[in-house]
């Protein structure tokens, strides 16, 4: 006897809407058990987890700050993954964007330059991220090198480059030799939208990007090309689409978006370059992209959702004095249920009697 997963012919439409809700319900149920076992009031704990990150305008702004890089990066990654281009190196492209954009902030430090500085930094960040992403694209299209490996390994190169820069040439001369750059001038910091919180222009940009990407995928020829190359490469070739040109395009777009996220993050939450500038946004965005089913609107929802669990976990540490590990276990449960429900949605599980003659081959 064995279990076999076979793909469903067609999955029901309303089940696909229901599946995330079932996942959330299962998470809440198992979370309640987990919290009760730890001697906490499950209702209170769950409320802190899910409601405190959206409880007031300050919290909502923080949520936007946390979700913005995830959404920006995951939309770009979705375009890659839809077309069978496995860009795993968004973390490095994020860092490279911060380096390129941060370079402008450091070069213009100490002199008043006017309001062009931050837009120029964003442009440079996009160029930096895209430039790094072009390397695996080039290796893939020219030399058929596996892009999963090359894009991943470039992450470490970007991180070490940043590390070297902030310990060496870009080190703040007045910073007691600590590995950090100067603080960016006000004009080189990400433009904020309110005076009472940290929400910045990056959130608006992310929303625009989501809308543009959704439009691209559903209404434009390029979007059709991306989906066709991913789903039926042979058909795409017959249709006259160039697979390698598309590889270049999607790597460039996703690299540019990751780089943009990098400079927005550095200019917004840090205001300087440090050896580590990302709590793993580039890797978390891979999860976000798949949670969002490689759909830009889905990425927006998934990005906000994951940001809620991050901040909820933080708040649980503060309000409930839960250890970090428990908050991570809870987050893991959540992802597990979401993916499990999706698996049951797409696949059918059957119990098959083992047929010994199959083994003989």
């Amino acid at each position: 006897m064995r279990l076999v997963l076979s793909k469903r012919e067609n999955s029901s439409r309303w089940m696909s809407l229901l599946s995330p809700l079932i996942a959330v319900a299962l998470t809440i149920a198992s979370g309640a058990v987990l919290f009760a076992a730890m001697g906490l009031d499950p209702a209170k704990a769950l409320a802190i987890y899910f409601l405190s990150p959206i409880s007031d305008t300050w919290a909502l702004q923080e949520l936007a700050v946390k979700a913005t890089p995830l959404v920006l990066i995951s939309v770009g990654l979705s375009l890659c993954y839809l077309s069978n281009n496995w860009n795993i190196g968004a973390e490095g492209q994020f860092v490279m964007g911060a380096i390129f954009g941060g370079g402008i902030a450091i070069a213009t430090h100490g002199v008043a330059n006017g309001p062009w500085v931050f837009p120029a930094m964003m442009l440079a960040g996009m160029i930096g991220g895209a430039a790094l992403a072009m390397i695996p694209a080039m290796l893939k299209t020219r030399l058929s090198v596996n892009e999963i490996l090359t894009s991943l390994m470039l992450v470490y190169i970007a991180e070490l480059l940043l590390d070297w820069l902030v310990r060496g040439p870009w080190r703040d001369p007045k910073g007691f030799n600590f590995p950090q750059s100067v603080m960016f001038e006000a004009e080189a910091q990400t433009i904020r939208l309110t005076s009472d919180g940290r929400i910045n222009i990056g959130t608006l940009i992310a929303l625009v990007v989501v809308v543009l990407a959704a439009f691209l995928l559903s209404r434009m020829l390029k979007g059709f090309e991306i989906r066709l190359v991913g789903e039926a490469p042979r058909a795409a070739r017959f249709a006259g689409f160039s697979q390698s040109r598309l590889t270049w395009t999607v790597f460039a777009i996703s690299g540019a978006l990751a780089g943009l996220a990098g400079i927005i993050e550095v200019g917004g939450t840090m205001g300087q370059l440090q050896p580590t500038i990302s709590p793993g946004y580039g890797f978390t965005a891979i999860i976000v992209a798949f949670l969002g089913r490689l759909n830009p609107i889905g990425c927006l929802i998934a990005g906000v959702f994951l940001a809620i669990t991050f901040i909820g976990g933080e708040n649980a540490q503060i309000a409930l004095r839960l250890p970090l590990d428990v908050t991570r276990v809870f987050q893991g449960l959540l992802l597990f249920f979401v993916l499990a429900c999706d698996a049951f949605l797409i696949y059918r599980v059957r119990l098959v009697r083992s047929a010994p003659q199959e083994r003989s081959a």
Binding site: N177, R198, E314, I318
Partner: protein, 360 residues
């Protein structure tokens, strides 16, 4: 604000109020809420663990007068939000225990004027931001003296994290101590580019021992180098906590971080209303760090080490007294002078006689 937070706070204050009834040690109706933000996990057995032990000590001493909260493994990007959240939940004293939190602390402090911040290392204070750190180099001097007594090959191996002044002046001071016993002492340094990476630290220790070093100093947090020293029959020093148990045959002494007394002092100051921003750099005499009991040493060696530690502690011996000459031959401070704290904190050169390249 949502109902839940109010409920949580209400519950907490009611509980704490009930608890304080019995012991009116501090004239305070509510306990002082103290937040701790760690850069690593509580269980890193190094930097964050030792801050957490300090927190436990604070709870132990102050009892119901304080209530502490921990947020661990916080990235610098998230620091401002965590601090604000702590402030909004009623924490009035927050210890931010990493240099990478310093700039975020300076940004968030003006928005929470009723909260007192204590940043473990930093470059400036503010109306509600204090700095604190320990003069770990004092322990390095003692390590140098011990190493010179124990080494037969006359070569110390030093596993260094990053070329920041904290590490550079520690290497200089180890050699200062070693030369006070034997001017022929030499040092080899391997940069592992990590504060905590057991694999790389062990590799570095292996390489140093293979190159003839027979006393290993480490400026990294894991017990791996010490364990390797134990295996290979050479000596070593523990870092951050007492590491005797990891290397019963190799361990000489450890530099043990001990923040508890400082945390108690600062919490008491907040309760008494006497908290003021300060820049504390505590030496052996402050109790911010201690030397673990000397092991694997003869009684003479141990008493010499203790004598040196006492001399530093009482100020009779200063590791940064002149003359101090750079590797390039230029004199920083002539005989009779002494480096200022700012000069020590900015040290980015090796002394003459230390033939080590700075990675640049």
């Amino acid at each position: 604000m949502n109902i839940n937070r109010r409920q949580v706070l209400g519950g907490a204050t009611a509980l704490a109020g009930a608890a304080t009834l019995g012991q009116p040690v501090f004239a305070q109706s509510n306990p002082l809420q103290v937040g701790f933000i760690y850069v690593g996990p509580v269980g890193d057995f190094g930097w964050s663990t030792m801050h957490d032990l300090g927190r436990k000590r604070l709870e132990e001493v102050m009892g119901a007068a304080v209530k502490t909260t921990v947020v661990e493994s916080v990235a610098a990007n998230d620091m401002e939000r965590v601090a604000t959240q702590l402030g909004r939940q009623g924490h009035r004293l927050i210890f931010t225990t990493s240099f990478s939190f310093f700039q975020p602390t300076m940004r968030v402090a003006p928005t929470l004027p009723n909260v007192f911040f204590e940043s473990a290392t930093g470059t400036q204070t503010a109306a509600n931001v204090s700095l604190y750190n320990a003069r770990f180099y004092e322990g390095r001097y003692v390590q140098g003296v011990i190493a010179a007594r124990k080494s037969k090959s006359k070569t110390i191996g030093y596993i260094a994290a990053f070329p920041v002044p904290e590490v550079i002046h520690a290497i200089n001071t180890v050699m200062r101590g070693a030369w006070s016993v034997d001017p022929a002492m030499k040092i080899r340094v391997i940069w592992v580019n990590a504060w905590f990476n057991p694999g790389r630290e062990a590799d570095a220790a292996r390489a140093l021992i293979d190159q003839g070093c027979d006393v290993i100093c480490q400026h990294t947090d894991s017990p791996a180098p010490l364990q390797l020293a134990n295996e290979r029959g050479v000596f070593g020093f523990g870092q951050a906590s007492d590491m005797t148990r990891f290397a019963p045959k190799a361990h000489l002494t450890s530099s043990v971080n001990s923040w508890g007394d400082y945390y108690v002092e600062r919490a008491k100051a907040v309760i008494a209303g006497t908290w003021k921003p300060g820049d504390v750099w505590g030496g052996l005499n402050s109790g911010m760090f201690k030397l673990a009991p000397f092991t694997n040493m003869t009684p003479e060696e141990a008493s010499e080490a203790q004598r040196i530690a006492d001399a530093i502690s009482t100020g009779r011996l200063h590791p940064f007294d002149g003359p101090i000459v750079r590797a390039d031959g230029s004199t920083v401070v002539p005989a009779g002078g002494r480096l200022t704290d700012d000069q020590i904190r900015a040290q980015n050169y090796f002394y003459r006689g230390i033939e080590v390249a700075l990675p640049s």
